[in-house]
Symmetry: C2
Subunit: 343 residues, 2 copies
């Protein structure tokens, strides 16, 4: 069945019926002009702040309908927003989903898309409380608005990194970029094996937002700055450094990147560190902390969440250029930044 046959209001009712009952702080969810929401009151409201973010997946720019299953697309559309709330040390609460849809789209696509959204929302305790559906002759877009909460003192911003601070990152980097490269150039399969191909594809299509890790980093109040890695760690670290006019040095031998990733990066870009540094879409947390606390902080996050945390470099004065120290000890200026939608 095409969505034109079901109609806008039939589609909204179908979506509402497929979602779980919202939590007790949702006074009004899907089906009115607005969603009516209470703070989850985890703390005295006077100490509490709201965090708001949005990010979109656009057909042709972020995904190809033929390559990404709609359920994965649903998960990812929410995951990239969860990652933003996590990167501020907050707790995600409420999502609105704004869809642009061509009229000839199959209803089954929406069912699967929402199955993915629902899975991701349930996994991270988020209520989908509203949204919008619009016809888009142009193709599909899925625009998600996410509201989170935080204790004000727990919020970690991009600004705050000081010279001497250590740079840390959760999980691994570069795998999503490898997945994208394999999608765009199937010839690259020859440069890897099936096991790594599956890892790369999964990291590309099903990023894991570091929600528990972000909330923990916030609550420990030791990180000086934080961002999630969407543009590649080099580019995102640059965003952190711009805020307090500092620079950075990374050590290649401490980067959490697999040998399989480095091999594929070398085959695709002639540089084994390219995917790890400039790949993008990792959705790991990249953060800084004073040198006397960094190692202990990394160990604590890792032990409490089970997610590895690597200390990968340090903040240096702005007078020095961003640099990468290779395993042989040589130091190289890092040119280029991360992903720019319009460059």
């Amino acid at each position: 069945m095409k969505i034109t046959q079901l109609g806008e209001f039939g589609l909204i009712e179908r979506i509402r019926a497929a979602l779980p009952e919202p939590g007790p702080n949702v006074i009004v969810g899907i089906g009115d002009d607005v969603a009516v929401l209470k703070a989850a009151a985890m703390v005295a409201a006077s100490e509490s702040v709201w965090l708001a973010t949005c990010d979109v997946q656009v057909e042709g720019a972020h995904f190809l309908r033929t390559a990404t299953p709609p359920r994965s697309l649903g998960r990812k559309s929410l995951a990239i927003n969860l990652s933003d709330i996590a990167s501020a040390g907050g707790i995600p609460r409420y999502a609105l989903v704004s869809l642009g849809l061509p009229g000839d789209l199959e209803v089954g696509f929406i069912d699967e898309l929402y199955a993915g959204l629902r899975e991701e929302a349930t996994a991270f305790g988020v209520d989908i409380v509203g949204g919008n559906i619009s016809r888009s002759r142009l193709g599909i877009f899925i625009d998600v608005f996410l509201l989170g909460e935080a204790i004000r003192e727990n919020v970690v911003l991009r600004s705050g990194a000081a010279v001497g601070d250590r740079v840390m990152v959760t999980g691994t980097v570069g795998d999503a970029a490898a997945g994208v490269a394999l999608l765009l150039n199937p010839e690259l399969e020859k440069a890897t094996d099936a096991a790594y191909e599956e890892i790369a594809r999964s990291r590309r299509d099903r990023p894991t937002p570091r929600v528990r890790e972000g909330a923990l980093i916030g609550s420990l109040r030791q990180a000086s700055a934080m961002i999630d890695v969407s543009d590649g760690i080099a580019g995102d670290l640059r965003h952190i450094c711009e805020k307090t006019t500092v620079s950075f040095r990374l050590h290649a031998d401490t980067l959490p990147v697999s040998l399989a990733n480095r091999a594929l990066s070398r085959a695709a870009r002639g540089d084994e560190w390219h995917f790890a540094l400039h790949g993008g879409e990792d959705y790991e947390l990249l953060f800084t902390a004073p040198p006397d606390r960094a190692d202990q902080l990394a160990r604590r996050i890792s032990s409490e969440t089970g997610t590895p945390v690597s200390v990968i470099g340090e903040i240096i004065p702005a007078g020095e250029r961003p640099q990468l120290v290779l395993p042989d000890g040589s130091s190289h200026p890092m040119e280029g930044s991360g992903w720019d939608h319009f460059k």
Copy 2:
């Protein structure tokens, strides 16, 4: 200059610089992973709720680049969301703007779009606190996410209309539909005059969200149900009636519609009431109240805000079909509903 030359981050900085300094409750605005927001604390936080809504303008579905100046588009993109917060009796506070843009778009378009967004935000006390910019090969979309606040007891929902309640509407209806008809069929100019053409065009391109009126209706706590008129009053009244399983009767001679509009509606659709009832995009407030309070409520809103309020009909039992009573006293069942994006 094309936006590809400026780049994503240059564009974000340009937008940030052009916006006014945000208000004191915006802890972090544009330029971090999230916006960090406090309640405006107009009331004890325990009585306060957040209202969240989103609505989009998609090129080809809602506007044509050749017909709508980007400044008008900016105003309208926010106005349609302001209207949703107003229709719940709330006060709009914070907006996020998610843009999908083709790379070859002129930067001047964005400057004008944001000039319009800024004008509308300033006029209604809203801070633009963040958003997203994405490339869209598909064409332009402007997706606005708006957060408002309300005292919980002031919130007016679509549900609540009871048999006997009077139906009221602010302002006038049908003019935006006339503006759209004139755009799509320039031949219709012959059926009107230049003065009305200007009114219709202005109502189409620059809707006036009834923000003060909505907040007042909320604070008076006498309205039983409310919605903003985006799909036409017949269709939107149907949305109200579905919630409590009731029906409605409207009186044509009380509809706030001009003779010029009726003449154009007759010329375009063969029915002088068509634009008023089914036109859509009026962004007036349509609400119900018990019969013993309706007239006084209408007068009070009108006198406090300067906006006319008309009592146009009443809620009747669900067993009766929605009907329109013509000036000659004859009663006609109303078929058809409002705008459906996919029908």
